[in-house]
């Protein structure tokens, strides 16, 4: 089983995901250059953080047209597990694989800090190893993480339990104070209708070793391992 980590020009978290996959969790992984046109041979795709194409115009706006994205879309449509973190989340939204958009933080400033997120749904390939309502300690690092969907769509997301994470207090309260960027309803992560594509602003790869302050991020990797194993069974 092999994880493919996409690299766009300006991506910078791919090394960290590679490190966690290889050195921490022990999953086979490989980098996929944005000019490649195939993702064959990979069982799971990760779109990491960074500033693809400098995040010029709109975060992820240009990256979604990279040659590799056709293959990514096909992989997602066929039910393959796809995770987008930070810039990767923004790209997935721009590509239409996830609902909504990510806007400039209400503070108008970049924010790099630890936050807590509450797991709203464990029925995705990336959250199945978590407990419902489990609070995770993970870092954020972004200037444009304010999640937005039009009101009517929000209701639909709620109804179909497509909201996967909400910013919360350490004890799981969803409060305005716990919201670092002004995201609608404290939304930190969502999934698509097929539930196989998940995006979130935080960085699980930065929270996968005790030495770095949290191991909660590992759950994303163990989850996808479990679900892939289950799928092949």
């Amino acid at each position: 089983m092999k994880i493919g980590i996409l690299v766009f020009p300006g991506t910078w978290s791919h090394q960290d995901f590679e490190h966690v996959c290889r050195d921490v969790v022990g999953i086979d992984c490989g980098l996929i250059w944005h000019k490649d046109t195939s993702v064959a041979g990979y069982d799971c795709l990760i779109l990491p953080g960074g500033f693809a194409h400098g995040d010029y115009l709109r975060c992820g706006g240009i990256a979604r047209f990279s040659p590799v994205m056709e293959a990514v879309v096909a992989f997602a449509r066929s039910g393959g597990p796809v995770l987008g973190s930070c810039n990767g989340f923004q790209i997935l939204c721009e590509a239409g694989l996830l609902p909504g958009a990510l806007l400039r933080n209400t503070s108008l400033q970049y924010r790099c800090r630890w936050v807590h997120i509450r797991t709203e749904s464990v029925s995705t390939p990336f959250t199945r190893a978590m407990r419902p309502g489990q609070v995770l300690k993970v870092p954020i690092s972004h200037g444009e993480g304010r999640y937005y969907v039009p009101p009517q769509e929000l209701a639909a997301l709620e109804a179909q339990q497509q909201i996967i994470f909400r910013y919360a207090t350490p004890d799981g309260q969803v409060t305005p104070e716990a919201n670092p960027n002004g995201a609608l309803d404290n939304i930190a992560g969502v999934c698509n209708a097929g539930r196989n594509v998940v995006g979130l602003m935080p960085h699980p790869e930065r929270a996968s070793e005790a030495l770095l302050g949290s191991t909660d991020g590992r759950l994303f990797f163990t989850s996808v391992l479990e679900s892939l194993a289950a799928a092949t069974r």
Binding site: F65, C93, G100, A101, R104, V149, G182
Partner: protein, 84 residues
Amino acid sequence: MVEARIHVTLKKSVLDPQGDTVKSGLASLGFSGVEDCRIGKFMVLKLQESDPQKARAQVDEMCRKLLANPVIEEYVFEISEVAG
């Protein structure tokens, strides 16, 4: 050669904190009369294209595909002929 002047603005329903900040910034500078402030993008493209009709169609496609995000933004543009 034609020039396209494109305005991309946030939909009314979308909060514009930058606009709000500029508004309060102006207030603190003593400009009390500012009722509202919205901030968008202004793009000027020069196209190697003689036929304004074709140009218009092209630019509209550019906006739909890349220059604006329909979830949060709307766009308008004018086309004018300019010297190469």
